[in-house]
Amino acid sequence: MKVSRLSILYAVMINELKIISREPGGLALLIILPYFVAGGMAFIASFFVKITSGVFLRQFIGFEVLMLSMIMMQTGARFLWEEKRGGRLEFLLATPTSMYIVLFGTSMVMIIMNIGAFTIASLPLFYAEYGLVGTIKLALALLLLFIGLLPLYGLGLLIAGLVMKLNDADTVMNILTPILTILSGTTYPIYVLPWWIKELIYVLPMYITFHSMYLESASHESITFIVYLIIATIIYLLLGVTSYAKLERSFRSRGI
């Protein structure tokens, strides 16, 4: 019996969804945590300057983009690492299902979850700041977030290669997370940084995602940023897929 690729993708996504929904607390945390972090920082900053609702919304979007970006970048690497550690990667590679479908399916579920969490968390703030128009602004911002998360998955596949090579997910992530957090440029004015760090920030998709979302919410949308995001998606996904193809070839020829 021949099963279509779409059916397989659907099955992978449903499976992943079931796995994620086993921990509803984790999903709730995705909604609450940005309030804790952005709220905590705003609380500290309020002793020095007046925090307006506009500034808080901008910082909130920044923290959201940052948090979801980190999750997105870790998704592929963590998935492969967990499968390897649990001895399931060999079985997955032995099945006729392409690993690209498995990885794409799991990442899509993660993107949907992230966007869902962002919607629930941000809706009250968008509504409070812009009224009903805010919901339309939010919908457009969500579209930009969706595009912005795709290149991060490609970046995650590049990181997966590093994790597998060094055979230690925690060490790689513990080093990369603070570096990428600073290079995200989502919660601070990047002009204060040296030019070479700024260039790195522009190369990565997080800042552009955040900035285009913020501009969208402030009704200053820029088509240049959207084009940039689409190009970044193509480049990073290509890089990620090529890197993963190389990794899988080495798995098949030399073992995991």
Binding site: E23, G25, G40, F48, I51, I182
Partner: protein, 272 residues
């Protein structure tokens, strides 16, 4: 010949020593993770300061930076103890390590305290990492007006967090997704537990004054910066802290006893 009581006391201390040594060997068995902590601390600090800039904070005085240093250390302590120690006990329960521990020590309490003493030594590295980070980024040289009081406050804070994390672990071990609660607690507890300096607002002063777990962290800042944060003499603050730590120890001992008995007799984790 030593009396039975003496022999029992010596046995307890020997077991405790073994647990401390075991904990230290385990914690220092991965020098790479220690290095990562030290190397990444300045990066996190830089991110924190840059984010304040994002909120519009342009300058920070040296006195404010000293306060930030101690607040950062307090947050690091709460976070480390809840995640590393409390969650560590939960993981030991899930992985069946506690059963093995039970076969070698008489009481889980000895294991918990021994492991906690080792962990408190390990958390001193957080302070080292923060001091180095503040120096690298701001050129800040740490000021300590009363070193003895500082040591007392760190010991009291560590003991307090040891018992709080243990009580927390016993209470949530049965819950699914307890890591979510840990994540929320790491923000809530420091807020109620003396992380925020009292001079920031009168509400914070009130929380710090009435929260029994806040005193060791207030003492930490007072000993370093040399001024009273609360209108309560230092000696009273120390006494309140000691009373809190003693009370927490008694609660921990009772809960661990219930936990221990349940695990030995029924093979189940948790208190009920």
């Amino acid at each position: 010949m030593p009396s039975l009581k003496e022999a029992l006391g010596a046995g307890v201390f020997r077991e405790l020593g073994v647990e401390v040594w075991r904990g230290l060997r385990l914690l220092f068995s991965k020098p790479s993770s220690i290095m990562i902590n030290i190397v990444t601390a300045p990066l996190w600090l830089a991110f924190f300061i840059l984010t304040l800039r994002g909120f519009g904070v342009l300058t920070l005085g040296m006195q404010i930076l000293q306060l930030f240093l101690w607040a950062a250390y307090a947050f690091a302590l709460y976070s480390s103890w809840l995640w590393g120690f409390g969650n560590g006990i939960i993981e030991e329960g899930y992985e069946g390590i506690l059963e093995n521990v039970m076969s070698t020590v008489n009481n889980i309490l000895i294991h918990v305290i021994g492991w906690g003493i080792a962990y408190s030594i390990y958390t001193l590295l957080d302070l080292v990492a923060l001091v180095v980070s503040f120096y690298i980024i701001f050129g800040l040289i740490i000021s300590i007006r009363d070193p003895i009081l500082l040591i007392i406050s760190i010991v009291l804070a560590s003991l307090q967090l040891l018992f709080i994390s243990t009580i927390y672990a016993m209470l949530v071990i049965k819950l699914r997704s307890n890591w979510v609660i840990t994540d929320i607690m790491q923000f809530l507890m420091p807020t109620l537990g003396g992380l925020i300096p009292s001079e920031t607002s009168r509400y914070v002063t009130m929380i710090n004054e009435y929260s029994p777990i806040a005193y060791p962290f207030i003492l930490m800042r007072e000993s370093a910066l040399g001024y009273l944060e609360l209108p309560i003499p230092i000696i009273y603050q120390i006494i309140y802290s000691i009373i809190t730590v003693t009370s927490l120890f008694i609660i921990t001992a009772i809960l661990v006893r219930i936990f221990d008995r349940r695990l030995r007799e029924e093979g189940k984790l948790g208190l009920t």
